[in-house]
């Protein structure tokens, strides 16, 4: 026995009853009686209508809908006398108080869109402590050829009229987006509303099995059975309707999910999970009865020998109007029912029984535990039956340890975790032993089990069952595929949850890299806790992430090879040891490289790339003798490693230089932040070991293009260039090498010139020496190198121009070089003397330099070439010289003609300078005068002498005596005190009168 009829009020009959807020309202003739839950009368309200037919509650607006005498009125719950709205000529009404959020609406819409209305299992009983979600109340009212739908949400109330070709007899709201209407016992339609706007809707007919017959018969049968259509919502997505002797469960898209036959046409129908109640009036020679069907299997559970009409379904009981009076139908022996359901493998029914909450004498904790156990059994049974999608929903809800879930899947995905079907029960603990795999049952039982699971699941589509008959293997393949699809959903979901938790806990960095699944036994993995990701500790998270990602990887390899790359590229916790073999087997090298990269196993990645490159090279060679191999991937990979992997880069890139130096150099020369971050000196040394030209090329790039300013690197480059120059002496490449050396020396400011100079052999590379001497501040040396050793007079002039700001006598020095120089003067000897003078400071008086002494000797006359240069110099820059000094220097044999231009211009310059001096002197004088006048102006002051003013010197009143005013502050003293005060004043101001004058 599953249910029991309990009489509540004797001999009272009613059409309308509602239970709300611990109160029961009952419509009795024209009044409404309020009862408390123990049926003591509390209140009553008398309506004007003669007979009240039905009562409904609208929770959101707190209204009670009362239908009576074809008039619907909405009354305030607090005071029923307050009427909000009244509608006449009402045929039928239906209400719904739903907590659908927009996201679940989206889910519902998706289900509708895909044409697969997914069965949703309510996994958790509603928690009373949970924050209440906003309730939406709907009311559908059928009037003449019209259905009006009223919607109340938290802050809005709206209403839509839907005109219809005919007047329906019955209306039922299934969910906020679906309403069913019935015109007759065989004509049902459904109205589907848009999620966002109720004014957008579509009306479709529900195609019933009986409509396949000719319409006449259909109408006739409808007429013969009864004229009253019957329907009642089963859950938020299914509605039950009665078509003749057929009971049909219809989903929200109007598709028949399952059906059963009842012995005769029904009179009334109601559903209260887990049962459907159908009243069957007396027929042929049977007495009337109420049939109780399981809402899951549509199996007949019990027959109550009374005819009753159903009034109202509350959370735990169903109110009925039985022949003896108002009664309730309550569940009894629920625990037994649950146990038997579990034994029969009807787990969803068992769960619904458990959730109905009545007739069970166990504590809440026990109930929760039982739920968990049944759910686990249920999930295993679903996996076994191939309904992995539903099972996954449960696993996600229960936070089942992913290792356990993965263990249920074939070995190619679960790997080491694989558990054969007959051992599944062990995975989930003792209770799970109740679950018996199909194979273990007898043949006949097996049939039953398949039947059960098939009927349990509305998912099994027609095509599926068709394929069962035709092609068994295809079915298995399809089943396997769909189960892996479901697993993908599970794994990606887990992956995201675990990732979220890990990033919150910041453990990922330290633990994820160290996790090695091979260190843990299968049992250890299976024993990990089944709890939400947030409550796991860091190491557990890391292990689970590794388990999930590795399984995800294997599932991708099986079903979506294209996604393997995506997974490898992202941050992942795949176990490289487990994964790399399968990637290698499938020749998915680029994915493997990505994996190594994401795991920072760059050494392995580079080795693999090398292998691939060399393989392709040898293949190419075999095919068309083309030795070109593609270094590109290796180079690109090496380029993105960056500074911290410099050892690895240097270690692993050597072979690429052996293959092709010019391409391989790009490892170090690329417009990339990471490439530029490499330690350049080390790279230069490394390249030098391979080929000094590569090193030079790199150094040129480093100093010129990326403008490195490291002195050590510049020193190294200078020395390398010097070596290259010296090596290339007497070869054609000498000029270009030397040119680049010189160019670098003149460009760079970062090298140490002294050391560089020391490195140059004594008599070689004069231009380089000149530059270095200049850098050392030895201008005389540099000048001498230009003018005498190199005989590059233009450069010498340019150099003078360049150095003039630092050494004003530089032109004179050049002149002296020209004038006193002859072939006999050894450069080395000169070098010594002038370097000594340069290191002190450039001497302002040239006559004291050793050079001038020599030139005074007429024997030491310069040769003609130098003389000519000296005259050119004097002519070009006459103002740079001191005329008398030049005249002293010039050898006596020089003709005035030669010096004509110089003398003239020099004289002009002197005269000009004198004039300029006289102008400035006069300007200064004028300025002096102006300032003196200003001073007088500033010093003259007005002073006021009154009776109270005293002389600061003698401290007597000034009165009418002669006074003296002292600047700059205007103190006033007697004339007689003037001198003494002035002295005092000057002393304090720190100067004497003489100074001012």
């Amino acid at each position: 026995m599953a249910v029991e009829l309990k009489l509540k009020i004797n001999n009272t009959h009613t059409n309308g009853l509602v239970e709300h807020n611990q109160r029961i309202c009952l419509a009795s003739a024209s009044s409404i009686l309020s009862y408390s839950m123990d049926w003591t009368i509390l209140d009553s309200y008398k309506d004007t209508r003669k007979l009240l037919e039905s009562l409904e509650i609208l929770q959101q607006p707190q209204l009670m809908a009362i239908l009576g005498d074809s008039t619907l009125s909405l009354h305030k719950m607090a005071d029923l006398r307050d009427i909000n709205l009244s509608i006449k000529n009402v045929v039928a009404i239906s209400t719904l108080n739903s907590t659908h959020s927009s996201l679940s609406a989206e889910a519902a819409m998706q289900g509708r869109k895909r044409g697969t209305s997914k069965r949703r299992i309510r996994l958790r009983p509603i928690d009373p402590l949970e924050t209440p979600t906003p309730i939406q109340s709907l009311l559908a009212v059928v009037t003449k050829r019209k259905v009006s739908v009223y919607t109340w949400t938290q802050d809005t109330a709206q209403h839509t009229d839907i005109p219809l070709p005919n007047t329906p007899k019955l209306v039922k709201i299934l969910n906020p987006y679906t309403t069913f209407i019935a015109y007759s016992a065989s004509e049902y339609s459904l109205i589907q509303f848009d999620i966002k706007s109720q004014s957008v809707y579509s009306i479709n007919d529900v195609i019933l099995p009986s409509t396949n017959k000719s319409s006449l018969t259909a109408n006739l049968t409808g007429f013969l059975y009864r004229s009253k259509p019957l329907m009642t919502p089963l859950d938020s997505e299914h509605i039950i309707l009665v078509d003749g002797t057929q009971v049909l469960v219809i989903d929200q898209d109007g598709v028949i999910a399952k059906s059963t036959t009842i012995p005769a046409s029904a009179d009334d129908i109601a559903s209260a999970r887990p049962f459907i109640y159908i009243t069957i009036p007396p027929y042929s020679n049977e007495t009337g009865s109420t049939h109780v069907y399981s809402s899951y299997t549509l199996e007949l559970v019990q027959v109550l020998p009374v005819v009753c009409s159903f009034l109202h379904k509350s959370s735990s009981v169903l109110y009925v109007d039985a022949p003896d009076g108002v009664s309730t139908i309550e569940l009894v022996n629920t625990k037994l029912l649950i146990d038997s359901s579990v034994k029969q493998g009807k787990y969803d029914e068992a769960l619904a029984l458990l959730d109905s909450g009545s007739g069970i004498d166990i504590t809440q904790a026990e109930q929760a535990e039982l739920r968990l156990k049944i759910l686990q059994l249920y999930s295993i049974s679903l996996v076994d039956a191939g309904l992995v999608d539903d099972a996954i929903d449960i696993f996600i809800e229960l936070h089942t340890n992913p290792a356990k879930v993965i263990a249920l899947f074939p070995e190619n995905i679960s790997g080491r975790l694989y558990t054969p079907t007959h051992e599944w029960s062990i995975l989930f603990g003792d209770f799970a032993k109740l679950y018996k795999h199909v194979d273990e049952r007898g043949e006949s039982e097996c049939e039953d089990a398949i039947h059960n699971s098939a009927s349990m699941s509305s998912i099994k589509s027609d095509t599926d069952s068709a394929s069962v008959k035709s092609n068994g293997t295809a079915r298995t393949a399809k089943k396997e595929k769909s189960s892996i699809e479901a697993l993908l959903r599970y794994l990606t979901d887990r992956r995201q949850k675990l990732k979220g938790s890990m990033s919150q806990k910041k453990h990922s960095a330290c633990t994820s890299l160290n996790v090695k699944l091979t260190d843990l036994t299968k049992q250890q993995l299976l024993d990990l806790p089944s709890s939400p990701a947030e409550s796991l500790n860091g190491s557990e998270l890391a292990v689970l992430a590794a388990v999930v990602d590795t399984a995800l990887f294997k599932a991708y390899i099986e079903t979506r090879p294209a996604l393997v790359g995506s997974l490898c590229r992202l941050e992942n916790h795949c176990q490289p040891e487990e994964v790399e073999v399968s990637l290698l087997d499938r020749r998915k090298y680029s994915e493997l490289v990505s994996l190594y990269k994401s795991k920072n196993m760059h050494g392995k990645a580079l080795d693999l790339l090398k292998r691939l490159c060399l393989e392709s090279e040898s293949e190419n060679e075999n095919e068309n003798g083309n030795e070109e191999s593609d270094l590109e991937p290796c180079i690109a990979y090496t380029q993105q490693l960056g500074r911290e992997y410099i050892d690895l880069i240097l270690d692993k890139s050597r072979w690429m230089f052996d293959v092709n130096k010019d391409i391989a150099i790009q490892i170090f020369i690329a417009d990339d932040e990471r490439v530029e971050s490499l330690p350049r000196l080390r790279v230069a040394h490394y390249l030098h070991d391979i080929d000094s030209h590569l090193s030079l090329r790199y150094l040129k790039y480093a100093t010129e293009e990326i403008n490195d300013q490291d002195p050590a690197l510049h020193d190294y480059y200078a020395d390398a260039l010097l070596q290259a120059t010296l090596h290339s002496r007497n070869t054609p490449s000498f000029d270009s090498t030397y040119a680049s050396y010189v160019a670098f020396l003149s460009r760079s400011q970062q090298y140490a010139p002294k050391e560089r100079l020391r490195g140059i052999p004594a008599d070689a590379l004069l231009l380089a020496r000149a530059i270095l001497a200049d850098r050392l501040g030895r201008h005389d040396d540099a000048l001498r190198l230009y003018a005498l050793d190199l005989r590059d007079y233009d450069s010498a002039k340019k150099y003078c121009n360049h150095v003039e700001s630092k050494d004003r006598s530089i032109y004179t020095k050049l002149l002296k070089l020209y004038l006193r120089c002859d072939e006999r003067t050894a450069p080395a000897s000169y070098y010594k003397t002038s370097s000594a003078s340069a290191s002190v400071s450039p001497s302002p008086t040239p006559s004291r330099t050793p050079i001038s002494d020599d030139t005074s000797n007429p024997l030491n006359a310069p040769n003609a070439l130098y003389m000519k240069e000296a005259v050119l110099l004097l002519t070009a820059f006459p103002t740079k010289f001191n005329l008398s000094e030049v005249l002293n220097l010039i050898p006596s044999i020089t003709t005035v003609d030669e010096l004509n231009v110089f003398l003239l211009r020099s004289y002009k310059a002197i005269v000009g300078k004198q004039r300029w001096n006289s102008v400035t002197a006069n300007i200064r004088k004028a300025e002096d005068t102006r300032l003196a006048a200003k001073l007088v102006d500033l010093e003259s002051r007005y002073v006021v002498v009154d009776d109270n003013r005293v002389c600061p010197e003698c401290l007597k009143r000034l009165g009418n005596s002669v006074i003296s005013v002292h600047s700059p502050r205007g103190q006033v003293t007697h004339l007689g005190c003037k001198d003494r005060f002035s002295v005092k004043l000057q002393r304090t101001q720190g100067y004497t009168k003489q100074d001012t004058i």
């Binding site: 079915r475 995201q496 979220g500 979506r560 992202l570």
Partner: protein
């Protein structure tokens, strides 16, 4: 009575770094409005718009997502069943371009589409209304990236000035519609009948 043609609902997901203008693009397209104020999206929200694509009326459901990592708590259910994924970056922000790869990979993983190689993506380079000197990602670079990912359509847009927004979303709708049709095909495609294996069993043979 024949089953009426179902209205087509296209689910489009917009992804990209925080602050690249995902919400703005969506608002510009659906509401023709733009605001200079930045307000981080939390979780996800969707807007719908009816458009005509190739003479068919379709409803685009645009899912705007949170670019900021701390708001990315959406489950995989959010990504699943998508018909097109729109990747958005800011042309003035090189980093937002560099992360495109991982957005794409992450989407593919989460959504696990049937045919990942041909899943329709569309790339939008937003904020082209700013001056040229600020631009950090060249059109060529973006086009190259698109080519390397299997010729993803690319549009340079400005949500602020409403440049190219309409055109971009039209392409998005069209590509999503193609994808949707393919999904339907997959879903309704019965198991192949092996002619070579058991044709005789299935159909019998005429004995005459």
């Amino acid at each position: 009575m024949p089953q009426p043609k179902k209205t087509v609902l296209l689910k489009v997901i917009i992804l990209g770094d925080s602050g690249v203008g995902k919400t703005s693009l969506m608002n510009q397209y659906v509401n023709k409005r733009f605001s200079n104020q930045y307000k981080a999206t939390i979780g996800a929200d969707f807007l719908t718009k009816e458009v005509v694509v190739d003479d068919r009326v379709v409803t685009i459901q645009l899912w705007d997502t949170a670019g900021q990592e701390r708001f990315q708590s959406l489950g995989v259910a959010f990504y699943r069943g998508a018909d097109c994924c729109v990747l958005v970056y800011d042309v003035n922000n090189a980093k937002s371009f560099e992360t495109l790869d991982s957005w794409r990979d992450e989407f593919l993983i989460q959504a696990s589409p049937q045919d990942p190689v041909n899943f329709p993506f569309v790339l939008l380079g937003n904020k082209i209304d700013t001056e040229d000197s600020k631009r950090a990602v060249s059109q060529k670079k973006a086009t190259n990236w698109c080519q390397s990912k299997g010729n993803i359509p690319y549009f340079e847009t400005s949500a602020k000035e409403a440049i190219n927004v309409e055109q971009a979303f039209q392409t998005i709708a069209r590509n999503a519609l193609v994808q949707e049709a393919e999904v339907e095909l997959y879903a309704n495609y019965p198991d192949p009948i092996r002619i070579d294996q058991d044709s005789s069993q299935s159909y019998g043979r005429c004995e005459c």
